[in-house]
């Protein structure tokens, strides 16, 4: 498929719209059965909305409201993406990104075809992929091995194998309502990520990661695509509501109004108990020790 697209690469250097159109025509040809919203594994993580806006290339850029716009990475990056994929990802996910590595075992690693650019972009740009330890129960966020452009390139190549949704979200935070976001966060997110967004350990070595240092678009990607154990929030949250949550996370969770002194790490009563007992009672007992006789 990448070979058949090579002629467009010349055009890509000159015009942006050209290759997009070109790929779109190929995409339409191969994905005519795709609905723009989630029906199964393919297109997982697209909002359940039949109202969609498409760009000139025929790709869905929003799902009925302007709170989030979705972009598909430029297919001109696909060649770069393929070579990056072969270098960094293929040893587990296989050369065709179908989760079958060279030794032929299938089922051990996820099939990436059809998952949509947002999924690929989230895992690479949060530093979780390429995995530091492929045997770990859950990958941790770390400094990304690949930069943003390289992540987009890999997403572009995988998308070229079977064009799918959702694209990479761009959240319009200006009109989002932080109060609604707080309520939705308490309802949907706090049960794992904790109400202060610090994350915590879940069963059997899995954990809900901290939300303190996650950029806005990655929060939206995670909500829509449900990485790892996280559920995909597709039908029950509109793009407006996702934007509200993203605004709450990127403002109040990441920059809490910590009035009342040191926040004690957001550990709640555990830290408070230690401070109260060791610093409070302990110091006062020491003062008593100092005031009293010691024989």
């Amino acid at each position: 498929m990448s070979r058949s697209r090579t002629p467009f690469l010349v055009l890509a250097a000159l015009v942006v719209a050209g290759p997009v159109l070109g790929l779109a025509s190929a995409a339409v040809a191969s994905t005519t059965t795709h609905t723009p919203y989630q029906t199964g594994r393919v297109d997982a993580g697209t909002p359940n909305s039949t109202t969609v806006t498409k760009n000139s290339a025929g790709q869905v850029v929003s799902y009925g409201d302007p709170a989030i716009t979705y972009t598909t990475p430029s297919p001109s990056l696909a060649t770069l993406g393929q070579s990056l994929f072969l270098e960094n990802c293929a040893s587990c996910h296989g050369t065709q990104a179908n989760g079958v590595p060279a030794n032929g075992t299938s089922g051990a690693y996820p099939d990436l075809v059809g998952l949509g650019p947002a999924t690929i972009d989230f895992w690479v740009e949060s530093g979780r992929m390429p995995a530091a330890d492929p045997t770990a129960v859950q990958a941790k966020r770390r400094t990304p091995r690949l930069d943003q452009n390289q992540a987009l390139a890999i997403a572009a190549w995988i998308n070229s194998l079977s064009p799918s949704y959702p694209g990479i979200p761009s959240v319009n935070l200006k009109d989002a309502n932080v109060s609604d976001g707080a309520a939705l966060f308490a309802l949907n997110c706090a049960a794992c990520h904790t109400i202060e967004g610090d994350g915590d350990a879940l069963a059997s070595g899995t954990f809900a990661p901290s939300l303190r240092n996650v950029p806005a678009y990655q929060v939206a990607e995670a909500i829509r695509t449900g990485p790892g154990n996280m559920p995909r929030f597709t039908g029950n949250l509109s793009d407006y509501q996702v934007a509200d949550i993203v605004k709450y996370v990127t403002t109040e969770i990441q920059h809490p109004q910590n009035v009342g002194g040191f926040g004690l790490g957001g550990l709640g009563p555990v830290a408070e108990g230690f401070v109260g007992l060791l610093l409070g009672v302990g110091l006062l007992a020491l003062v008593g020790f100092w005031v009293g006789e010691r024989q």
């Binding site: 707080a182 004690l264 408070e272 108990g273 006789e293």
Partner: protein, 515 residues
């Protein structure tokens, strides 16, 4: 003829030997007879040992609790009626919240000094219960609860229970997401009581959870009923203390028949007043600089919402830990369900624990057959069985306390939550079993070791002219010559009613009075 000249000196002399204050006191005494009681009070002897100050931390943090609590009641609205939050905290603006929650957030953000008062109130509660537990440990391990002080031990234990209960009620009042979860757990614990659980729960909550009655009911219990009972029991605790006089550690000049220490006036009064300011100051510093319970971040409680990683305040931790690690056992039969995984750790276990603590003096008397009056304290090492029993219970409760943060530990150390859970299950059983013999053995070793508790002396190394090195032990410290740390044969339990030896030298700065 002598002329009467009014000078300052003659005025002073005419006022009598006690001056104007003395005159006023005399007038009071003529009418109310305060001299006798006042003299007893001012002359009350307080032992100087530092461990006797632990109870005072509890007393003074209770005073802070009362003062800050009165401030909070001025602004808190004990109601579960829904209102729209329109205060200054943006993420809550426009949300439907209860009056209780809105007023708690408002008193934190909109009332001058409100957040400081709320944080001081919460910190002093943590310190209050902590100091009670420390004080209780001191009383237990030194045997201060023995005859004639069993009643005061019972009062103290009741105070601990009331403090824990009132702490729980208090942190539930803001009606935030975290405390609402706590109320939900308390409701389930009450439900789990066999036979009467549902009736008791519906009675207390005025119907099914959450209802609208619980916050007003908790409020009255928290600010009126339980504080009054605590206040009364604190009075009884102190009254008995004055009536029965202090215990003291054995030592030079200290016998079963006397109390050695500083009198209330002036030494102890200065000391304790200073200590009160230190306690108040420490709580004020914590309230000003350490955030506690940021309820605005938690949001209001609704039954459909929950936050992960929720722990109760530390004094409820051992119960939470027991609930967390108990295996999922339950009993289903005859159309009834008894959730043993809740009933055993949260109802039966604390029931046994607190009853055991209450009746411990009687249990010990039964075993030692010691019916004598005791005013001199034990060294813990001289009572290895009691010390080992106390350490066992303390270790169990500490392990359960640690178990209440299984998720925090798993997250912090990057290990599986299941591993932590099973580790805590094993530790909670194994560590108390190990603690008893180890403590017992250490106590016995300390009894047998003559130098225990004394400072080591230096070795003076000298070099002779021939180049030979000699190490000579320096003489023991003068203070350590007194053999107070040495193992005394465990007292034969009889009350020796010998008179106080009059020729014993009184240590400087202390007074000794017969009982």
């Amino acid at each position: 003829m002598s002329q009467t000249v009014t000078t300052k000196r003659s005025q002073r002399e005419s006022a009598g030997p006690y001056g104007k204050i003395g005159h006023t006191l005399n007038e009071l005494d003529d009418r109310l007879g305060v001299a006798k009681g006042g003299r007893t009070f001012l002359d009350k002897i307080f032992p100087d040992h530092w461990s006797f100050m632990l109870g005072e931390i509890a007393l003074y943090s209770f005073v802070v609790l009362l003062v800050t609590g009165i401030f909070l009641t001025l602004y808190y609205i004990p109601s579960q009626d829904l209102t729209t939050y329109t205060g200054s905290y943006l993420p809550l603006y426009g949300q439907k919240v209860t009056e209780a929650y809105a007023s708690s957030v408002n008193l934190s953000f909109a009332v001058r000094g409100g957040l400081l008062m709320r944080q001081m109130h919460h910190w002093s509660c943590d310190i209050f219960v902590g100091a009670i537990v420390l004080h209780m440990g001191r009383v237990f391990f030194t045997g201060a609860f023995r005859k004639p002080r069993e009643l005061n031990w019972t009062i103290g234990t009741t105070l601990l229970i009331l403090a824990i209960v009132n702490g729980f009620l208090g942190y539930s009042l803001p009606d935030d997401l975290v405390s609402g979860t706590g109320i939900r757990i308390a409701y389930s614990i009450i439900l789990s009581i066999p036979l009467v659980g549902t009736y008791v729960a519906f009675f207390l909550f005025g119907g099914n959870f959450p209802g609208t009655a619980i916050i007003p009911r908790f409020f009255i219990l928290h600010v009126l009923i339980i504080p009054l009972v605590i206040l009364g029991l604190v009075g009884a605790h102190m009254g008995l203390l004055v009536r029965q006089k202090h215990t003291q550690f054995p030592g030079k000049g200290k016998t079963e028949k006397n109390v050695v220490g500083s009198p209330m006036y002036p030494v102890f009064m200065a000391k304790t007043t200073g200590f009160m300011f230190v306690v108040t100051g420490a709580i004020a510093l914590l309230g000003a600089f350490a955030q506690i319970n940021p309820i605005w971040q938690f949001g209001p409680y609704t039954a459909s919402r929950i936050s992960y990683a929720v722990q109760p305040d530390w004094y409820m931790g051992f119960l939470d830990g027991a609930l967390r690690i108990f295996p999922a056992w339950s009993f289903h039969s005859f159309g009834y369900t008894i959730p043993l995984e809740v009933t055993i750790p949260a109802v039966i276990f604390p029931g046994i624990l607190f009853n055991l603590i209450m009746v411990w003096p009687a249990i010990e008397r039964k075993f030692t057959k010691d019916n004598a009056l005791h005013n001199l304290l034990d060294r813990p090492s001289n009572r290895p069985k009691r010390t080992a029993a106390g350490v066992t219970v303390a270790v169990l409760c500490s392990m359960l306390f640690i178990a209440s943060s299984t998720d925090v530990m798993a997250n912090f150390f990057h290990v599986s939550l299941n591993t932590v859970l099973w580790s805590m299950r094993i530790l909670c059983i194994v560590t108390p079993i190990i603690a008893y013999p180890v403590t017992y053995k250490i106590c016995r070793e300390m009894q047998g070791f003559a130098g225990a508790g004394k400072r080591k002396t230096t070795n003076v190394v000298s070099r002779t002219a021939e180049g030979e090195y000699l190490a000579t032990p320096a003489p023991v410290y003068v203070d350590d010559v007194v053999h107070e740390h040495e193992h005394e044969a465990v007292a034969i339990p009889t009350f020796v009613s010998e008179p106080v030896a009059e020729d014993e030298a009184s240590p400087s700065g202390v007074r000794r009075i017969p009982r």
